[in-house]
């Protein structure tokens, strides 16, 4: 009997040890990736990296300004498309009665859209924009990214609104404020931290996306400011440079990876700040 207890305790400790070791093993790839990105990327990073466009094949140096600007333009544009759209669809879901079939279908659609592989979104954006316009454009890329952002914004809006006490809505209605005005002027501002967090998360989701941009924004070695023209983006540049045989372009790709990861980290930090600073005390 005593032995039995001893054995079971040993087994329990052993289990804990195995679990701990296995879980700590995920740090190996993380450290390895970060080591690669940082040690190689840091070599690319200098003033030129942020102010120049990529140099010609074979020449060393050059920068990724075109991709940084392109990512900025496209993400910005996709926010402009997806946020008002997703926000109001989220309001609709919050507002719909529990037994609404329309709301049920909408929730299902949002789930489905969220699970569409990004490459498929890229294909459809190609069919919708690139084929009729007969050219690649940043606009088509932004639209693809906007579709990817949409579900997250809809969901976070709905969930955030549900957490706000109903009494707030009633207080506004009791002042004779119409229904939708109440939703937009009282409920949305009260949930601003949750909604912004959802927005930031969705930016984090799309900023590193390559697949939807390959056949839409396509990429461009030049600094482009016209959204109807092909445009580069950081993940696209990483892909194109990484698949090229040139060592100098590989260096650029590592550098771009480094700033992309840095940017993702900044977004995570931003989310934590938003939650702290913008939290509306109810």
């Amino acid at each position: 009997m005593k032995n039995d207890i001893f054995f079971r305790k040993l087994q329990s400790s052993f289990f804990f040890l195995v679990m701990l070791v296995l879980s700590l093993m995920v740090f190996l790839p993380l450290i390895c990736i970060l080591y690669y990105v940082i040690s190689r990327g840091i070599k690319a990073i200098n003033l030129d990296f942020f102010t120049q466009i990529p140099s010609h094949v074979g020449d060393s140096g050059g920068g990724v300004l075109n991709a940084i600007m392109g990512s900025f333009y496209m993400v910005f544009l996709s926010i402009i498309i997806a946020v008002p759209w997703g926000l109001s669809a989220g309001i609709f879901l919050y507002d719909a009665p529990d037994d609404s079939r329309f709301a049920y279908l909408l929730r299902l659609s949002v789930d489905i859209i969220q699970s569409i592989p990004s490459i498929v979104i890229g294909i459809v954006a190609y069919v919708w924009f690139v084929m009729p316009m007969q050219k690649f454009s940043a606009l088509s890329g932004s639209f693809a990214l906007a579709i990817m952002m949409l579900p997250m914004i809809v969901r976070s809006t709905e969930e955030t609104l549900r957490l706000i006490p109903k009494t707030l809505k009633e207080a506004s209605l009791a002042l004779g404020v119409p229904h939708y005005t109440t939703l937009f002027k009282i409920m949305i501002p009260s949930g601003v931290s949750g909604i912004l967090t959802g927005g930031a998360l969705s930016i984090g989701r799309v900023v590193g996306e390559t697949a939807p941009l390959i056949f839409t924004a396509f990429g461009s070695p030049y600094l482009v400011h016209n959204i109807l023209k092909p445009m580069d983006a950081l993940p696209l540049l990483i892909y194109n440079c990484a698949m090229s045989p040139y060592e100098s372009w590989h260096t650029l790709a590592w550098g771009a990876s480094l700033i992309l990861i840095f940017f993702t980290l900044c977004i995570n930090l931003l989310i934590k700040i938003i939650v702290k600073k913008w939290e509306v005390v109810l």
């Binding site: 009494t167 707030l168 009791a174 002042l175 002027k185 109810l282």
Partner: protein, 252 residues
């Protein structure tokens, strides 16, 4: 008797198939305070929510009968206009968390898109806060968030928010049930003052509160109006046996 302001005839309220109020008929008199009393779940909240058309917010709810304000049946009016005339204060204070004290008082104007000059706004804010007995406590930090105030202060801020809309009638749903005795006393004193400007309908659980601050009392039981009359009479010589039992604390 003073003049009627609100005349309620055969009010029935439903939620889905369930009838909550049965044929309630009574009057409210201007510049008087009326208590709505009765055991929990008897329909007090539903009753006052019918008066400012909040009950029908839920699509499953229905109201029939007449609620006549200035010769007009409010049930036929635009619910939004009714709500601007009849203010409401809730069980739990609910100042808008995104707004300052100043903006909370003006919320009805801001949210309804009614423009006012700076001077007019200042005047409304000061006037409403004075009437709500809050001015001296908050006049030096009007631009702080309303949610930073104490519970009693928040409740008075909500009263000021309703008063700012120049409402004629103020509905209060157990306004002191979440407050400490000191803040409760403050609100009770305030009600006495408020009667100069508005008609008060207050739901309360607290019999001594009803006795202290109201002129009339309505006693509801299971959605039916059992007895209505001057508070003093109703408390001293109740006509109905059920009222007597309730007042004696035998149920509720």
């Amino acid at each position: 008797m003073s003049n009627k302001i609100l005349d309620i005839k055969n009010l029935n309220a439903f939620y889905q198939n369930h009838q909550i109020l049965h044929d309630v008929t009574l009057n409210f008199f201007s510049n008087k305070a009326t208590a709505i009393m009765g055991p929990s779940g008897c329909g007090k909240t539903t009753f006052i929510r019918c008066i400012n058309r909040m009950h029908e917010l839920d699509p499953k709810a229905k109201v029939t009968g007449e609620i006549i304000l200035h010769n007009q049946n409010t049930l036929d009016m635009d619910s939004i206009l009714v709500r601007r005339k009849i203010g409401m204060v809730f069980q739990r204070a609910n100042p808008f968390p995104t707004m300052s004290i100043y903006d909370n008082v003006l919320a009805g104007y801001k949210l309804n898109g009614i423009k006012k000059s700076r001077d007019e706004k200042d005047e409304i804010v000061q006037d409403s806060l004075e009437k709500a007995g809050l001015w001296h406590e908050v006049k030096d930090f009007l631009h702080r968030k309303g949610t930073l105030l104490s519970g009693g202060q928040q409740q008075r801020l909500c009263i000021a928010r309703s008063l700012a809309m120049k409402t004629e009638i103020l509905l209060l749903d157990e306004p002191t049930s979440a407050l400490d005795p000191y803040a409760t006393a403050n609100i009770e004193e305030l009600i006495e003052e408020l009667k100069k400007d508005v008609t008060i309908i207050i739901v309360t659980h607290n019999m001594s509160q009803a006795a202290r601050v109201t002129d009339y009392t309505a006693f509801l039981y299971e959605g039916k109006l059992i007895e209505f009359g001057e508070t003093e009479k109703l408390f001293t010589v109740p006509k109905h046996k059920m009222t007597e039992e309730y007042l004696a604390g035998r149920f509720g």
